[in-house]
Amino acid sequence: MPPQLQPYVQQGLDVVNQTIPLEGYLIVAAIMFAIGAWGALIRRNAVVVFMCIELMINAVNLTLVGFSDYLPGADGAGAGYAVLVIAVAAAEVAVGLAIVLAVYRSRKTVNVDEINLMKW
C-alpha cells in the first residue's frame, strides 16, 4: 500500500471500524416492529398476519439482545429473556396455525375479513 494513502485508509478503517451505537440497533428494531405491525393490520390472509407477528417478535428480541450486550449491569440477562421469547413464539406459532387450520376447515377461508361474526 502506497504510504500516502495510509492516513486515508486509516481514516476509512476508523470510520468503518467504529462501534455501532446502541441506538442503531434500537432503531432498526423499531422500524422492523413498525413494519410488522403494519402488515398485521393490512393483510387479509391469516397466515401472513402470523408472519408479521413473528416479525414483531423478532424485533423485540433484537432489542433485548442489544441491551444485553451494551448495558453493563445486566449480566447478559437480555439474551436469556430472548431465548425464552423464542420458545414462547414457537409455541404460539404451533397453536396459532392449528387454529387457522380449524377455521379453514369450517369456513373454507383464511380471509380474516370474512371471520366477523361479532359484527353489529
Binding site: A37, A40, L41, I42, V49, V112, D113, I115, N116, L117, M118, K119, W120
Partner: protein, 656 residues
Amino acid sequence: MTSVGQQLIIAAIPVLPALVFVVLALFGRYLGESAQYVAIFGVATSLVFSAFSLYFVIRAQTPIDFAVNWIDLGPGGSFPMGIYVDGLAAVMLVVVCFVSLMIQLYSGAFMQDDSRFAWYYAVLNLFTASMLGLVVAPSFIELYVFWELVGLCSYLLIGHWFEKPSAAKAAQKAFIVTRIGDAALFVGIIMFWREAGTTSFQGITEAAQAGFIGGSLFTTAVILVFVGAIGKSAQFPLHVWLPDAMEGPTPVSALIHAATMVAAGVYLVARTYDIFVQSPAAMLVVAYIGGFTALMAATMALTKKDIKRVVAYSTVSQLGYMMLALGIGSYTAGIFHLYNHAFFKALLFLGAGSIIYAINSYNLTEMGGLRRRMPITFWTMVVAGLSLAGIFPLSGFWSKDAILAATYEQHFYVLYGMVLLTVFLTAFYIFRAIFMAFTGEPRSEGARNATESPGIMTGPMVLLALLSVVSGWVGIPALFGAPEGGFFERIVQPSALANETLALEGHEFSIALAIVSTIVALLGVGLAYLLYVREPERATSLARRFAPVYNFLDDGWYFDALYERVFVRPAMALGRATNVFDRRAIGGLVSGVGRGTGGIGERLRRLQTGGAQNYALFILLSVLVIGVIVGAQYTVLVIGLIALITLVTVAVGARL
C-alpha cells in the same frame, strides 16, 4: 283560671268530630249505613260540651283562654296553639254543633242510598271539627289552619257527587274563588306578623294601639284580611261560587252554605273587631260592601227557577246584612243576626231538600200544590220565610230590625235605603218561591205524587222552625220587658276597647222604624201573593216585557260571564300553554336525553365491525395516543396531530 277538667271539655269540642272523621274514613267501608250513629253521637257530645262552655263563660264573665307551645323560634316566631272562648265563641260553638247535629240526623234519610255514605259523614264531621277549631282560635295562624281545612271540606262536599261534571266544576270554582280570598288573608296575616311580631289577636291589637303599625299599612292589612272574609262569606265581588255550590247535596248546603262556613267570614271580622275598629276606613269598606252585596244578591234571587239557588242568593244577601252591621259598629246586632239566620236559613235549605227528596226536582216551575201533600214542609217553610222576611214577632225581625235601626240612627242614610229596599226584595223572592212551590195546582207528575218526607227529616225541620220563632227572643230590647239590651247583648258584645274606639251612642228601641220595616216586608209578601197566587200570568208577561232586565238579573248581573272572559279564559289558556311547554319542552328534553343516548349508542355500535384487524388497529392507535400524551413535549401540537389521525383512522376503520 280554668281547671283541667274544663280545659279538656272545651278541647274535646273540636277534637271529637275530628276523631269521628278518622274513624269513618278508615272504617267507613265496614260501617255502611250505621256510620250516621257514630257521627251523631260525636256531634251530640260536642253540643253538650258547647253548652257547658257557654255556661262557664256566662258564669265566669271572663273568657276561657289556654294554649300550648306549638312552634317556638324565639321572639317574633312563636306560634302557640290555643283555645280562646268568650261569649261570641261560645254562642258560635253551640250554633255550629246544633245545626251540624240537625243536618246529620236529616242526612240519614236524605243520603240513604248514596254509594259513599260513610265518607259523606266523615267529611261532614271533619268540616264540623274544622269550623269549631276556627271558632276557638286565638291567633291568626291557628285560624288560618282551620280556615283552609274548612275550605277543603267545602270542596270535598260540594263535589261529593263528582261523577256529575257540573258538581266537579262547582267544587273547583268554590275552591278557587275562596282561594283568592285566602291568599289576601294570608298576605294580611304576614303583614301583621311582620309589624307586630306575633299573630295572636290580642298581641296585634295591642301593637296596633301602641302605634307599632303605621297608618296606611295597617289599613291595607286590615282590608286584606277582610278580603279573606269576602271570599269565604261570598260577598261582592267573590260571591260567584255560592250559587254554583248548590250542586252539592242539600244537607251540605244547609250546613255549610247557610249556617256555618259562610259565617266564618263574618266571624273573622267579629273576632278581630278590636283590630278593625282601629281603622275607620276599613270599617267603611266593610259596611258598604256588605250593604251593596245585600241589595245585589236580593235582585239576583228574584228570577231564579231553582229553589236552592234562590236560597243561596238569599244567604249572600243576609251575610251582607251582617257585614254591614259590623261595619257600622253594631257588633251585637250583626252577631245576633248571624245566630238567628243560621236557624232559619238551615231550615229553608232542609225544606228545599225535603221537596227535592219528594219530587226529585228542584225546579220551581215543576212544583205546585205541595201544600196539601207536604204539610209539615209547607208550614215550616212558611215560618222560615216569615222569619227571613223579618216579620214581627219572629226571630228574624229582631235582628234585622236592630241592623236597620242602627243604620238609620248612625246617619248612614244611603245604606239605610239600600237595606230597606233589600227587605222588600227579600220578602218578595222568598214568598215567590214558597207560593210557586206550595200553592196552585201541581205542574208536573212528580208534584202530583208527592208525599211528606220521613220523620227523621221533618223532625229537625220542626225543631229549627221552633227556633226560628223563639231564638230571637233572647235579644228583645228593654221596651218589651226584658232586661236592658236583652240577654244576647250581655253575652256577645264588643270589648271595652272597641266600645271606646267606636264611641257610639246608645239608642232606645224605635217603634217607628220597626213599623216601617214590617210594612215594607209585608208589601213584599203581598206583591208575591199577587203575582204568583192571584194572577200568575202577570208574572210571565212582566218577565217578557222587561226581558233585558230579567236576563240581567237571571244571569247574576253577568258576573260569571265577566269573570269567565277576564280571568278564567286567560288562566285556562295559560294552563294549556304551560301544559304544552311541559310536554314538549321539558318532556322533550327528558326524552331527548333518552333518544340522544340511544342515537349515540346507535352510532357507536358501528364500531363493532367484527373484524379483529380493525380492533387491532384501534388498540395500536390507543397505545400510540396514550404514549404520546404521556411523553410529549409539545403537548398541544402533538395532541392535535393525534386527534386528527385518530379521527381519520376511526372514520376509515369503522366503515369496514
